[in-house]
Amino acid sequence: MIPNKFEYIRPNTLQEALSILSAYREDAKVLAGGQSLLSLMKLRLASPKYLIDLSGVPELNYIREESGRGNSARIAIGALTTYAQIKESAVLQAKSPLLVQTTHLIGDVQVRNRGTLGGSLAHADPAGDMPAAILALGAEIKAVGPKGARWIKAEDFFVTAFTTALSFDEIVAEVRVPVLKGYKTAYMKNAPRPSDFAIVGVAVCLQPDGGRTCQNITIGITGVTDKAYRAVGVEESLRGKQLDPKIIEQAASRVTDGVEVNGNIHASKEFRSYLASIWVKRAIQAAMSGA
């Protein structure tokens, strides 16, 4: 790795990290798992002058249930929690399994051991898996900055490729996801090889009414356009409907409604749109047949 020159700083508290960040402003970047940032620095596509390593800030690493009544019960996840920790979390598995399901399809063991939830969201890779999942979950993201903390809704968080609603002096501290009761979830992705970034990734939270009718459904899509998004058209077409194969297929064809689809050497624009509709269909079916 031959990056540009940088200075490495390892604060011990979030407060300290924030004040360093405020001091160096756009010249600084925080380092979490490094699974995206270091690749960019290696290619000299990112050249921060100051690298603020968050690994010395233990207060950002936790998964805990926060009480609340009915659907207001939440699980709070610290930004530095790794994919591997999420994958092994009994609380998440029992109460809000979508993130767990998603981690199974992210990268390989090394990437899951290093990569963090906060890093994945802040990086906002247009093909990142977690952004799709937190959109489907309607999660909230806690950003802390010099002026204190604020909560950003998942749907407001992703602006465009590699750009979020965070300001340069803010750090993601926590992500809150709902405890799901009566929901079925699934994450599926199409990728050239098992550990690759998604050509299309689909996260589904489905609330059936006990039978085959869809009471509510939220769908997060990644890999298709410049950012992860909710497939609102598909959701609308399914709410209140019988989940029959025909209806699902018709609804799935709306997955790219209103989005500018990306093309690259792994899938052209047309093929990606086509795959998106197939994978939406499959992910809904997987959610239906899953727990």
């Binding site: 020159k5 290619l43 093929f271």
Partner: protein, 801 residues
């Protein structure tokens, strides 16, 4: 030729899967690669062309030179003033290319300026300060572009972008086509891919001011030739270059092409008067660390109604990119497998090599033979379909029979041994061919599409290096050979030095097995220094690790040197014991009298006489116990257009792939993969197994994922491992490897080649399997890779992948 019984005095080690000697070192991370060498160096970084084709109008390096820590800067222009152009091997047209870009850039990634700095970070920083003015020229990217007379010329002086165009006919092709009942014709396209070793190119060059000479450390694969190339290009005599090859992390052919960078580093180290280091980055490697060329092949088969193939004609066009040194060789080497495993009486081959603004090409695992077997084995399936024959039956009707061995192909290649029909029978039995067909039918009715693909390939080894010059005439190299030094030390242990350096093949292990059985000792007492040093090691122009030559000429040299040492020890022992030599035998590191076991001397005692108590040596015997030997394969023919053998040994295999295609998404899942492999006698069956699987995975990668995609501007769109997709262990099946052993009568140990085979035979196994799976949709496979998008399109519209 020596007989096996004369070579091996015990049979304890050869043929057994002994524990590999080299692994501990590698697993512990204590191997010595170029980058591990403890040499105080400056570092070089290369400014590379962002254009595929452009004129260089102006280069301003002043800001870079002013950067503190920058030691020296050199442009292609300056290099050209001090060097000779790169010498082409296979063609005669003028095409002047230097080791760096001069006046013009010819591919994205071509080195334009080199910067030496105190460390690699500063060197990279300095690149941003160099200003180059280019005038973009229209790029010539595809084969169609190159053949279009309106396209600009890449080498103006050549007058054409076609640098080699030759046609060779062997056998009475016209008669054969008259005899034929039908002729089938097809056009195939094979894409660009490469083997991308774990350790990319690595070089250190040190200038020795005292005698105006250079020392090179590099993971070069064919140093015997590189010494010649580097010295010629620098215009220095070969005594001015010492070449050292330390451990090397994989080669697969692409490290045959790194020598131009040695030239640049040599000039820089002289300029800076300091050792200079360059460790290629992955992106540099993918851009210009050489590819296998993409190819267009038209082929037709002349057939009898009963399925017999009488003859074939190919028109082979290779997109050789932009490296004149190797342009043309991918066509010529196809003669090694042109008629595959079949009794084919006549062949006609029109060979065309074009230059384009794609990256350089060089020998990559299998070299052209993967393409040859791909088009041939595809044609066999297509012919079977046309004639209503089962693809297995079609092959049985054409195989060269074991009783016909040795078999000479129309162009003169000699297949020495093998039982091709049995190889396929074994594979089919292993798969359960008939049950598979039943299951296939069942699943189809449920909307699932599985398919089986058979591919039979000849996998040659040991190049007869004269073949490069078939079209050009004057051969600079001929035949093949290697050198070895075998020494017995004070303690009676054995050390071997070889002219080639292991890059993953297990040289130390297999060598120790052979030497142990030649000297009746434990392999633990045999060590091998995995380093070549041109002032110490034996070497020839042929030296290196390539073309599967190890088992043949490398071990040949080891055997000959060991035999010399053994003969000398026997002479000394006879003298020491007062026993006639013919009565002496070897056992457990001693030589004893077969008539009186008490009369024995150990190797250590013999060594003590050879090295220290030399007055006790027999009359006329030289002191010392170290012998050098060179072994040349006795079966290489003289280069000729009419009758020549490109390679010396010919392994063979049958690959059977069972796949399932998701017809909705186009993705292909490998269900089973069977390799029935015959490489003659095996020295180490587990190493052979590893090679068979490893090379097959290279082919699977090429068939499914790997693709150097260029856009119409000549930009490479796969310049990191995010986009150039290697196969991963996840997603691969458990390989089922079945060995057969048909000893080779032309190598000392009856061995043949084992390193490239899977990369040759596997491409078609997958292609045939996918076509079989998709037969209800009438899809034909005429190109690679089998990308999901192409698969879906073929099912729905084009009917052709």
């Amino acid at each position: 030729m020596l007989k096996l019984e004369e070579i091996l005095v015990t049979r304890n080690w050869v043929g057994k899967p002994v524990r590999r000697k080299e692994d501990t070192r590698f697993v512990m991370g204590v191997a010595t690669y170029v980058d591990d060498l403890d040499i105080d160096c400056h570092h070089v970084a290369f400014l590379r062309s962002p254009y595929a084709h452009a004129r260089i109008l102006k280069i301003d390096t002043s800001k870079a030179e002013a950067l503190p820590g920058v030691i020296a800067v050199i442009t292609g222009q300056e290099i050209a003033r001090q060097t000779k152009p790169v010498v082409p091997r296979a063609f005669n047209k003028p095409a002047v290319q230097y080791v760096m870009a001069v006046n013009k850039v010819r591919y994205v990634g071509e080195p334009v300026v080199a910067v030496v700095a105190e460390n690699q970070y500063l060197a990279a920083d300095a690149l941003d300060l160099i200003e180059v003015e280019y005038e973009a020229l229209k790029p010539v990217v595809t084969i169609e572009d190159a053949l279009n007379p309106k396209s600009p010329l890449i080498f103006e002086e050549a007058g054409s972008n076609v640098l080699l165009h030759d046609k060779m006919v062997h056998g009475n092709i016209e008669e054969i086509y008259k005899e034929a009942d039908l002729v089938i014709k097809e056009h195939f396209k094979v894409h660009r891919y490469s083997s991308t070793p774990l350790e990319p190119w690595a070089i250190i060059v040190k200038y020795e001011r005292a005698n105006d000479s250079f020392v090179v450390w590099s993971n070069d694969q064919q140093h015997g030739r590189s010494i010649v190339n580097v010295c010629h290009t620098l215009g220095i005599s070969t005594d001015k270059l010492r070449f050292i090859v330390p451990d090397s992390g994989g080669g697969f052919g692409v490290k045959l092409a790194l020598w131009p960078y040695i030239v640049t580093l040599a000039l820089l180290s002289k300029k800076a008067n300091k050792p200079i280091k360059w460790i290629q980055t992955r992106t540099e490697h993918l851009l210009g660390g050489t590819h296998a060329p993409d190819a267009d092949v038209e082929i037709d088969l002349a057939l009898k109604k009963d399925g017999r193939i009488l003859g074939l004609c190919i028109k082979d066009i290779q997109n050789d990119g932009s490296f004149v040194h190797t342009t043309g060789i991918y066509g010529l080497i196809k003669f090694a497998t042109m008629s595959g495993c079949y009794n084919i009486k006549a062949t006609s081959a029109e060979l065309v090599s074009v230059v384009t603004n794609k990256g350089p090409t060089v020998q990559n695992r299998g070299v052209g033979k993967p393409t040859m077997i791909f088009v041939l084995e595809r044609m066999v399936d297509l012919a079977a379909k046309k004639l209503g024959l089962d693809p297995a039956e079609m092959r049985f009707r054409n195989f060269i029979q074991p009783g016909q061995m040795p078999h000479t192909t129309p162009s003169g290649e000699v297949y020495e041994s093998g039982d091709y029909p049995e190889c396929l029978r074994k594979g089919l039995r292993h798969l359960g061919y008939d049950e598979f067909r039943k299951r296939q039918k069942d699943l189809r009715s449920k909307g699932r599409y599985i398919g089986v693909g058979i591919s039979a390939g000849v996998e040659p080894g040991t190049s007869n290096l004269g073949y490069y010059y078939t079209s050009r005439g004057v051969p600079e190299y001929m035949g093949n050979a290697e050198g070895a030094i075998v020494g017995v030390d004070y303690d009676g242990n054995i050390n071997v030095l070889l002219g080639s350096v292991d890059s993953g093949q297990g040289h130390a292990t297999t060598t120790s097995q052979v030497v142990a059985d030649m000297l009746a000792i434990h392999p633990d007492r045999v060590s091998m220094t995995n380093q070549l040093d041109s002032i110490i090691s034996p070497f020839l122009g042929h030296s290196g690790v390539y073309s599967n030559k190890f088992n043949d000429v490398d071990l040949g040299a080891v055997i000959m040197a060991t035999k010399k040492v053994r003969d000398k020890m026997l002479r000394i022992a006879a003298h020491m014991l007062g026993v006639d030599r013919s009565k002496l035998k070897l056992k457990d590191g001693t030589i004893y009298s077969s008539e009186n076991g008490a009369k024995a001397v150990s190797f250590k005692e013999i060594a003590s006489v050879a090295y220290k108590r030399i007055l006790l040596l027999p009359e006329g015997e030289e002191p010392g116990l170290k012998e050098i030997a060179y072994y040349k394969t006795p079966f290489a023919k003289m280069p000729s257009r009419e009758n020549f053998n490109i390679q010396i040994t010919h392994s063979n295999s049958v690959h059977i792939a069972a796949v399932e295609v998701d017809v909705e998404s186009g993705s292909i899942r490998l269900d089973r993969y069977i390799i029935v492999h015959d490489c003659g006698n095996q020295i180490h069956p587990e190493i052979v197994r590893g090679m068979a699987i490893g090379s097959t995975v290279h082919g699977i990668g090429a068939s499914l994922y790997e693709n150097f995609v260029y856009n119409e501007d000549g930009q490479l769109l796969a310049s990191t491992f995010m986009d150039y997709l290697k196969p991963l262990s996840v997603g691969l099946p458990n390989f089922e490897v079945v060995h057969m052993e048909s000893p080779c009568p032309y190598s000392l140990l009856g061995t043949k080649s084992a390193g490239e085979g899977g990369a040759i035979t596997s491409l078609t196994a997958l292609a045939n399997a996918v076509e079989d799976a998709l037969s209800p949709f009438g899809v034909k496979v005429t190109s690679l890779p089998l990308a999901p998008e192409k698969v879906v399109k073929a099912i729905r519209e084009t009917k052709e992948i």
